[in-house]
């Protein structure tokens, strides 16, 4: 079961990789006065915060929604989750400078576990 989920994720990770490069090219066109290093950092940050957690959060609905839709919805979903829970983590005393390293992995793990469990229960 895990293998199935991992294989399909592996397949789609190629698309995500391509979209990262495409995103970087788009950024370079739009913000052409900016150095590539800065753009790379921003693109990587956006992917780490929104795209990758969003992708895993949407894995549960993989069979119902096509990749492009999951990709876009995932960005909004991850932004929503990170925005909300960062507020609460801050309130309980965890400095926000650590949130970028805590919240995305948590969303990724929850998304992955949910997808694996769904696959297990459906087969």
């Amino acid at each position: 079961m895990n293998k199935e989920v991992f294989n399909s994720t592996k397949e789609e990770s190629k698309y995500i990789g391509i979209l990262f490069i495409v995103g970087l090219v788009i950024f370079k066109i739009i913000y052409f006065k900016e150095s590539l290093a800065v753009l790379l950092k921003i693109a990587a940050s956006l992917f780490w915060l929104f795209v990758i957690p969003g992708y895993f959060a949407m894995l549960y609905w993989k069979n119902k929604l096509e990749f492009a839709e999951r990709f876009v919805v995932g960005i909004a979903l991850s932004a929503a989750l990170i925005g909300i829970f960062s507020y609460y983590l801050g309130l309980i005393g965890l400095n926000m400078k650590y949130h970028a390293f805590i919240l995305p992995p948590v969303i990724i793990i929850i998304g992955l576990v949910a997808a694996i469990r769904k696959k297990a229960s459906s087969s």
């Binding site: 913000y31 800065v38 989750l81 990170i82 801050g90 400078k97």
Partner: protein
């Protein structure tokens, strides 16, 4: 390529890829038009760039204060008139995201918070594409370029003047519409709960709009499809309960801080003091919109979600005529996105009367034509994209001055700003990150016209008074520092000798005011009351050496 059984998959794949390529190009174009010119084609700036009004600084400085504190338990004292211990009361999501992105990407907050508004506007537009696509892909392709009108005349100010939380919340509002288009999806209530919560915690009024939409959606669904859908009710109820759980803590703050101060009261407001959009501004698209409404209603069973969504947003966006006041006007910042369905549907349906066999390529061609019509200013009867290219209110020298104060003065020190052209947008002053006051220009001009140097000037203590500077007395009760403050706390005659630092602008659009600034500065310096501690071509900062004493001789000149 000829379509055969053998190459069927390949043909379908090419068609799908073409759509994705279109979406990627559109996303890039949207981002380019909204932020490319405006940001001078860079993402990293030396100072808050292209900020055109006070509200933009309000959000930037609040996000900055959250980054400094590492959380949003409290408002920074310099935001709330120097009071300590005020709870963080503003919806936090946009700030949190900009702080996290700033930490990760190493960009300044003033860059990340602004960029994210544009980024989520683009994501909201793509979400709208999927809402419409659920009904008809061709309509979605034709409709989506209309969303570029969010950068037409009045609406662009939603971005540049700082209505940022409203815009980001509207992007989440589109996500809520998407949820209703996927109500059959397993556990779709999770989407509803998360997006409702995010919208509420970004800018609360959009959740009221979402609730109205969901009620209209449910009633219309029940009438049109002649059934009470239990799954729909279950989704709404479970989604609502999860949403309430997520929001509980902030909801308490909202209920006791915001609601008493911004309670609903019926008022008809025909105009707004900010630039906005009226239906007539859609020009020829308005006629198509009317046609689109009629056609959508005729095909309501098929076009149910986008039709009900767009109609609801049209009604709510016109809510200034029946009590929603400025909140209705704010919704209009996203009207081109929210209403594009009607226009796209009308164009598609009308052309389908002529073209019986519609090919997807026609939709792409139409889409390109609409984009060009919006971009090329000489095309008549069409609203146009208006690029903005400006540094904004801030400049490198003022920013250097603000940074100097932040880095070189004691945290508890207070700063007095004499006249400066940019200080009328008073949230700019929070950039100093110190408690601050500023001279009221009318009194300053009065003193100048009477050729007087005064020790007492009419003075304003600017700050964020929207929440009344709330502090907690228990979990469910709050006090208000502002309401408890003595009369005249915000405005009144103040003794300039009671401040630690003075800021004088050396340059002004009205040179005589800058000269008067420098006259007072030299007067303070002459008797040793104050010494210059920072100077650049635009501003001088002086430290008061005789705080509380007789620091300046009142006289005529």
């Amino acid at each position: 390529m000829l379509f055969t059984q053998e190459n069927q998959n390949q043909v379908v794949k090419i068609k799908l890829d073409f759509e994705k390529i279109f979406l990627i190009i559109f996303f890039g174009l949207f981002l380019y038009l909204e932020s490319g010119f405006l940001f001078d084609n860079r993402l990293q700036h030396d100072y808050p760039y292209a900020y055109l009004a006070s509200d933009a600084f309000q959000h930037q400085t609040r996000a900055e204060s959250i980054k400094d504190a590492g959380n949003y338990k409290n408002e920074a004292s310099y935001i709330v008139f120097g009071f300590n211990g005020a709870i963080g009361y503003y919806p936090p999501v946009l700030y949190d995201l900009s702080v996290i992105l700033s930490d990760l990407a190493g960009l300044e907050i003033y860059d990340t918070v602004y960029f994210l508004v544009f980024f989520f506007a683009a994501i909201g537009t793509l979400m709208m594409y999927f809402v419409i696509r659920q009904f008809n892909r061709n309509v979605a392709i034709i409709a989506i370029p209309i969303s570029l009108l969010v950068f037409s005349n009045g609406l662009y100010t939603g971005f540049t003047w700082g209505h940022w939380p409203a815009i980001v919340s509207q992007a989440f509002l589109v996500c809520i519409f998407w949820c209703t288009s996927k109500i059959d999806l397993e556990k779709s209530y999770l989407f509803l709960a998360v997006f409702m919560s995010a919208s509420f915690m970004t800018h609360t009024s959009e959740v009221l709009f979402a609730a109205i939409y969901l009620i209209i959606f449910f009633i219309a669904y029940s009438i049109i499809f002649r059934k009470i859908d239990l799954k729909l009710i279950k989704n709404f109820v479970i989604g609502g309960i999860i949403c309430l759980i997520i929001l509980f803590y902030y909801l308490v703050i909202f209920k006791y801080v915001w609601l008493p101060r911004q309670a609903y009261e019926f008022a008809v407001q025909k105009m707004w003091d900010n630039p906005t959009m009226y239906l007539s501004d859609f020009k020829i698209f308005f006629l198509l919109m009317i046609a689109g409404i009629a056609i959508a209603l005729f095909y309501i069973k098929k076009s149910f979600v986008p039709a009900v969504m767009a109609l609801s947003m049209l009604i709510i966006g016109s809510g200034n005529y029946f009590g929603f006041r400025e909140k209705a006007f704010q919704l209009r910042f996203f009207w081109p996105v929210l209403l594009c369905f009607f226009i796209g549907f009308a164009i598609y349906w009308l052309l389908k009367l002529i073209i019986k066999e519609w090919k997807p390529v026609y939709s792409f061609i139409l889409s390109i034509i609409i984009i060009l019509a919006i971009l090329v200013n000489s095309v008549p009867f069409v609203p146009h994209y208006n690029p903005i290219k400006t540094n904004g209110i801030m400049d490198p020298y003022h920013w250097e001055m603000f940074r100097w104060i932040e880095k070189n003065t004691a945290k508890e020190s207070n700063v007095y700003f004499f006249y400066g052209d940019i200080y009328s947008q008073d949230a700019v002053l929070r950039s100093a990150k110190r408690t601050h006051s500023q001279v009221i220009p009318e009194d300053y001009v009065d003193a100048l016209s009477k050729r007087e140097i005064r020790r007492f000037y009419d003075t304003e203590s600017p700050g964020d008074h929207g929440g009344g500077v709330p502090y907690r007395t228990s979990f469910f009760s709050f006090g208000s520092r502002l309401e408890e403050a003595p009369p005249g706390f915000l405005h009144g005659k103040r003794d300039i000798c009671n401040y630690d630092y003075y800021v004088f602008d050396k340059i002004s659009g009205q040179p005589v005011l800058a000269q008067y600034n420098l006259l007072i500065a030299s007067e303070l310096q002459k008797n040793g009351s104050a010494t210059v501690v920072f100077e650049n071509p635009t501003a001088v900062i002086m430290k008061n050496n005789k705080k509380g004493e007789d620091c300046i001789e009142q006289r005529s000149f």
